[in-house]
């Protein structure tokens, strides 16, 4: 046998094994393991030992083949169902799978030959199309907004603005920054919700003028929502937040 065949032409040990099986025209399901192993060993003995990584993959397969060869000589192993186990079974399965993969790769290669002959083009979208701006759809833009709602929004903003200015303190030259106590506010509101069944967020904010007050009150409300003591609802954007207490005395 000529050993001029370089191992590199094989994609791996499975490829080499398939080659040997085909060359010897043997049944893949009944591999004459002794013969194939011998030929396999001859091949790998002939290759250069430079590429250790490639080599190791071939050596692993060599070990597998030798192992199968030994097991073929021993009495057949029997599995749980009492069936004899063919020591070659796993290798055969791998070879079949690999063979399928090879077969598919040839198929792909064939398809590529024709496929590359179809040319595509880059987008050429006319300038008029690219520059087009859809006219404003006012129906969609305005939605169900109307002047009355716009007026409500306006009033809400103006109220927010006056709320920000403390009528008494703004008279002072300098506004003292006072700390808002979260716990204090919490207990005050907890007390409030026991006495009131239904009220609005804005009611809670009465006499609270600093932004900090508002924030703390809001945090308390969130906390009470989490504990399930209250439920809140807001009909529309900018509407007052309505609060229903779950712990109020009936």
């Amino acid at each position: 046998m000529s050993l001029s065949v370089k191992l590199e032409v094989f994609e791996g040990p499975l490829d080499l094994l398939l080659h040997l099986i085909e060359k010897n025209k043997v049944d893949i399901y009944d591999i004459p393991i002794a013969m194939i192993t011998e030929q396999y060993m001859e091949y790998i003995a002939a290759i250069k030992k430079e590429d250790m990584e490639l080599m190791s993959e071939f050596l692993v397969m060599a070990a597998t083949l030798l192992d199968i060869k030994c097991r073929m000589l021993l009495p057949k192993e029997v599995n749980e169902e009492g069936e004899e186990e063919d020591p070659r079974a796993e290798l055969v399965e791998r070879l079949i799978e690999y063979k399928l993969c090879k077969y598919m790769s040839y198929e792909l290669k064939d398809r590529q030959i024709d496929a590359v002959k179809s040319l595509f083009k880059k987008p050429t979208i006319p300038g008029e199309v690219l520059e087009y701006e859809a006219p404003v759809d006012y129906e969609q833009l305005i939605g169900n907004m109307d002047l009355e709602k716009l007026n409500r929004i306006f009033k809400a903003i103006m109220k927010r603005q006056t709320d920000k200015i403390d009528p008494v303190r703004s008279g002072f030259g300098k506004i003292e920054k006072d700390e808002v106590n979260l716990e204090e506010r919490m207990s005050a509101i907890s007390e409030f919700i026991r006495r009131h069944k239904f009220f609005s967020f804005r009611e809670l904010l009465e006499n609270q003028h600093s932004r900090m007050d508002t924030v703390v009150t809001f945090l308390v409300i969130l906390e009470l929502m989490k504990t399930g003591d209250i439920r809140i609802s807001q009909e529309k954007l900018f509407d007052d937040i309505m609060i229903t207490s779950n712990v109020a005395a009936a």
């Binding site: 880059k122 050429t124 006012y138 833009l141 939605g143 109307d146 716009l150 929004i153």
Partner: protein
């Protein structure tokens, strides 16, 4: 690209001029080849080059191309056509197809008013004419984006400039705003009276003065 391409005149049939044509093989389906070439190239293709591919002279190539264009244009089941440009030709979509192309090539705009835009709009509506600064003072936040959006949508517009330091722009609502909100007349809204302008001018001046004091 701009070499002197002389499109041969009709009568110009000197046989010696066809030297380079000796290997030109006439393609079988010239229309298909023109279509494929112009499609693949995307850009304009010189008749001279197209002629080489077709294995025909420029004259015949021009004729073939023009008749193909006529065929495209006449057939309403075709969406493409050809465009002649100088000594070249390009494939393009028919102008009548633009409205359909827009649907796919352009991301549809979402028309909606953000909370910031609504707030700004309400301020402009009820305080007009109003300056950018005033809007921001009322809202407590910068409102450039919201203002620009409202102008783009044609709901507010520039009314002029306040005759005050810095000559700030004045904004007011548009006719489209009135139409969209079903407002019959501007009277339903506080109008931009001369008194209001005077008032604002004073405010602006006071403000300017107070700024100086602060510094």
């Amino acid at each position: 690209m701009n070499e002197d391409v002389n499109i041969p005149e009709e009568g110009n049939t000197e046989p010696e001029a066809f030297e380079e044509k000796k290997r030109a093989v006439k393609v079988k389906h010239p229309e298909a080849v023109i279509e494929a070439v112009l499609f693949s190239m995307g850009n304009s293709v010189e008749y001279k080059k197209l002629a080489e591919v077709l294995g025909r002279d420029v004259d015949e190539t021009v004729r073939l191309t023009r008749s193909l264009k006529t065929k495209y244009d006449k057939d309403s089941s075709r969406g493409i056509t050809l465009m002649e440009l100088n000594e070249s030709v390009q494939m393009c979509s028919k102008v009548s197809m633009y409205e359909h192309l827009i649907k796919i090539a352009k991301i549809p705009r979402k028309f909606e008013l953000s909370e910031a835009a609504l707030e700004t709009l309400s301020i402009v509506a009820y305080k007009q004419p109003v300056t950018r600064l005033e809007i921001e003072k009322i809202r407590g936040v910068s409102s450039d984006h919201a203002i620009n959006r409202l102008i783009e949508y044609g709901l507010i517009e520039e009314l002029g400039r306040l005759p005050a330091p810095g000559r700030p722009l004045l904004f007011g609502t548009t006719e489209e705003f009135l139409r969209s909100f079903g407002v019959k007349s501007i009277d339903e809204l506080p109008s931009a009276t001369p008194e209001r302008v005077e008032e604002m001018k004073k405010e602006a001046e006071e403000e300017a003065a107070s700024v100086y004091v602060d510094i």
